[in-house]
């Protein structure tokens, strides 16, 4: 159906050249034959038809390519790098939880029924170790070929074995010494210090950095994809305009040559071109908007909360470390405050002020303190989340998280007051109630946080789903539209060409 440029000329029916005097220039430019061939009306109609059809095919190709890029962008974010990146945040959480459980068991000493009990804590340790192993496998496949991160993953894998040896030694020594609750055996403490130091200087930083890097990969993929789609959009728009222009040219030529006012099929083709181009552009813009929403409000937010949750796991374990290592207690208290500040920052310099500040935040939410006079407001993983709640149910969930976090800090205040009053037994009880895996204060916080994270995970799934939906109709609309265009062009020129048979 597509005519080629080697259409045989029909000299018998040739009309005079459009512009008088052209005959003279034919010999001069040395291409008389081509000029001569194109001088016939049917040849010109054919040429304009070929140009129009080529433009239609160009429109189809550019639109198909760009739609494909948009689809694969959604696919990578929704089913590839996105979920994998989410899985890497699990690594940090599991490692932090392992060290937390060891600290709890050491603190319990001979009283195996404190909180949810020694067996439970050891079971949680095993479960976290298994999750860490799984996350490491995931991370290993994700970072394969990524020199720097691959090596980080390998080093965490190696380090985990060494950590476990130290942790086991600490538990064994404490058991052998028959240490009472809160009175950790000196040898056991020495081993635990080595273990927790190793965890905090070698394992956790690398695990965290691997997670950050997978976020960076997602961001780079996303931005590259968006840039490619934007460029594709410009192509689609440009080629669409070229189709319109060529159809217009054909229309004008037919009108001048054949003195027909309208060529309905060609007018139809112009209309279809406008609809097709605009439709593809709108679909791409809308899908790209959904994809960005899935990333920003969905994945990035969920990952940031997951990181905040992992840091909080380490933070609450500082309570146990504070109690079991009196020599380093000041240090652990300071570290507890610093980790708290990472989760939810307020401009205060000690724990007493921090408790008050957090109580204010929880009480006044959704109003937030600060914002002027050198007060940066609420910052940190939770604090920044709190600034705006765009998703349905987000504000309510966030209020629950802040409430649970405040309760965690309230219990911390009780714990440290008990220590100050010399009531170690009470302090250990408070700690074990915080750490209780069933109805502990921290478990309640984790549950509230999980609820909030779920809101963002849903936003992520929803964004990907809507992005896909915006594109899905075009799998058949685009080829159908392109075929329709070719058909209309054919219908438009065929009767005119027929006049020359």
């Amino acid at each position: 159906m597509i005519p080629s440029s080697s259409t045989p000329p029909e000299p018998t029916r040739s009309t005079a050249p459009a512009v008088p005097g052209r005959t003279g220039s034919r010999a001069r430019d040395g291409r008389p034959r081509l000029r001569h061939r194109l001088a016939t009306t049917p040849a010109r109609v054919w040429l304009l038809t070929v140009v129009s059809c080529a433009a239609v095919i160009g429109l189809f190709a550019s639109a198909a390519h760009t739609l494909d890029q948009a689809r694969s962008g959604l696919d990578v974010l929704g089913r590839g790098a996105g979920p994998q990146a989410m899985a890497t945040t699990e690594l940090y959480l599991s490692l932090a939880d392992m060290d937390a459980r060891i600290a709890d068991v050491l603190l319990m000493g001979t009283d195996h029924d404190l909180g949810s009990g020694r067996e439970d804590a050891l079971g949680q340790y095993e479960a976290s170790r298994e999750r860490a192993n799984e996350a490491l496998l995931q991370a290993a496949s994700l970072t394969e070929g990524e020199g720097v991160q691959q090596r980080n993953v390998e080093e965490v894998l190696d380090g985990l074995g060494a950590y476990e040896r130290l942790a086991t030694e600490a538990l064994l020594r404490n058991d052998e010494a028959g240490a009472a609750p809160g009175e950790v055996d000196a040898g056991a403490l020495e081993a635990y210090r080595g273990a927790t130091r190793m965890m905090h200087t070698e394992l956790l930083p690398k695990a965290f950095n691997v997670g950050l890097d997978s976020s960076a990969i997602v961001r780079a993929n996303h931005e590259e994809g968006q840039a490619a789609v934007t460029l594709g959009l410009l192509w689609v728009g440009g080629v669409g305009a070229a189709v319109l222009l060529s159809l217009f040219g054909l229309q004008v030529y037919l009108r001048l040559r054949f003195r027909r006012r309208f060529n309905l099929p060609l007018i139809g083709a112009s209309a279809v071109t406008v609809v097709l181009t605009a439709g593809v552009v709108l679909a791409l813009v809308s899908s790209s908007g959904h994809q960005s929403a899935a990333k920003d409000e969905g994945l990035d937010a969920a990952m940031s909360l997951a990181r905040g949750g992992a840091i909080a796991t380490d933070m609450q374990a500082d309570q146990s470390r504070y109690l079991l290592d009196p020599d380093q207690a000041d240090n652990y208290q300071q570290v507890y405050l610093e980790r708290s500040q990472q989760v939810l920052f307020r401009p205060v310099s000690n724990l007493a002020d921090y408790y008050t500040a957090i109580d204010e935040v929880a009480a006044s939410y959704p109003e937030l303190p600060g914002g002027g006079d050198g007060d940066p407001g609420t910052l940190g993983y939770l604090g920044e989340r709190a600034h705006e709640a765009l998703l349905p149910g987000q504000e309510e969930r966030l209020a629950q998280v802040l409430e649970a976090y405040n309760e965690l800090q309230t219990q911390d205040r009780r714990l440290r007051e008990a220590v100050r009053d010399g009531d170690t037994g009470e302090a250990i009880d408070v700690r074990m109630n915080v750490a209780h895996s069933g109805d502990g204060t921290f478990a309640a916080y984790e549950e509230a946080l999980g609820g909030l994270t779920e809101v963002h995970r849903e936003a992520f799934d929803e964004g990907i789903r809507r992005g896909d939906a915006a594109l899905s109709a075009w799998t058949w609309l685009l080829p159908a539209g392109a075929l329709l265009l070719l058909l209309l062009v054919a219908l438009g020129v065929r009767p005119r060409l027929a006049e020359y048979r």
Binding site: G147, V148, Q149, R151, N152, T201, E202, L204, P205, K206, F208, N209, L212, D213, S215, A216, R219, A220, E223, Q226, A227, T230, L231, L233, L234, G237, G238, V285, D300, R307, D330, N331, Q333, Q334, V335, L337, E338, Q341, Q342, F345, P347, S349, N350, P376, L379, G380, G383
Partner: protein
């Protein structure tokens, strides 16, 4: 900072985008400048901290120290040769301002990452996590822990809140003395006018390396000071590239070499493993 010109295509697309009036195209098409495209850098460093950032001769424009080495390493990883890195002196108070005004492209100057600063500056790293510690005279055997400082005089640099961390943070009453600079504090400690100097252990180690044996650490580190690489706010691409460079600096042993070179003579307990990054967004 000069830029490599490699974005002709992007610029053309950008022009087209402007014509079509599509929103957000400039961001998507890389219309924003990033340090990763720079082929020269101006880096702000300290000029008065031995071992970290020290101007070798006043006004010479030549600097040396751990921060300087870190900056050169990162610059190289960003594709900027050492001869294209200009160092300028910055004081603690002017770090944000110079970064925001564009006077410097990067700050590597014992610049602690804090949540408040992160609202104005994008931080790569940290490249090292220092701890706040206390330096006392080597013969002051009575001071074994930070609690032994009760009632003694502790010197801190102007504008620092190190001593407040002891008084307010830990509830230990000490007499706060403010020196003009840390060199000033060290002189006072040396001559017996103050009992202790409190700040980051890496800064203290730099002074200790200058006069080994004169002082010692109380060795009771009680806060994390995360030394970050200050970058123009929002330059996430550069931040990720800086983090990658820091990871390699540790993995390939360069960090160990640098730390040993500047602080190896002291009894500072160093960490030779990559720190936990803060994240770029």
């Amino acid at each position: 900072m000069r830029f490599r010109h490699r974005r002709v295509a992007a610029a053309a697309a950008l022009a087209a985008a402007a014509v079509f009036g599509l929103p957000a195209c400039s961001a998507v098409l890389g219309g924003e400048e990033s340090l990763v495209d720079a082929d020269s850098l101006t880096v702000g460093v300290k000029s008065d901290q031995p071992g970290l950032g020290l101007e070798t001769e006043a006004g010479s424009g030549e600097f040396e120290g751990f921060d300087v080495d870190v900056a050169l390493y990162i610059a190289e990883r960003l594709g900027v040769a050492p001869e294209n890195v200009d160092f300028v002196a910055v004081t603690s108070a002017e770090r944000e301002e110079k970064l925001i005004s564009g006077e410097v492209d990067m700050v590597v100057a014992t610049y602690s990452i804090t949540p408040a600063r992160r609202t104005q500056v994008t931080f790569g790293g940290p490249y090292y996590v220092a701890k706040q510690d206390v330096l006392v005279r080597a013969d002051a055997t009575g001071i074994q822990g930070v609690r032994d400082l009760e009632g003694l005089s502790v010197c801190q640099g102007a504008g620092s809140n190190s001593a407040a961390r002891i008084t307010e943070g830990l509830g230990i009453p000490v007499e706060e003395v403010e020196g003009e600079t840390y060199s000033d504090c060290i002189e006072r400690l040396s001559s017996g006018r103050v009992d202790a100097v409190s700040t980051d252990n890496l800064i203290l180690a730099g002074f200790l390396a200058q006069s080994p044996g004169a002082f010692r650490f109380v060795n009771n580190p009680f806060t994390d000071e995360k030394y970050g690489v200050g970058l123009p706010y929002g330059d996430i691409e550069a931040c990720e590239a800086v983090n990658n460079a820091i990871s390699r600096m540790y993995q390939e042993g360069d960090a160990t070499e640098m730390l040993d070179r500047w602080f190896g003579e002291t009894d500072l307990e160093m960490v030779y493993s990559v720190p936990q990054f803060e994240g770029c967004d």
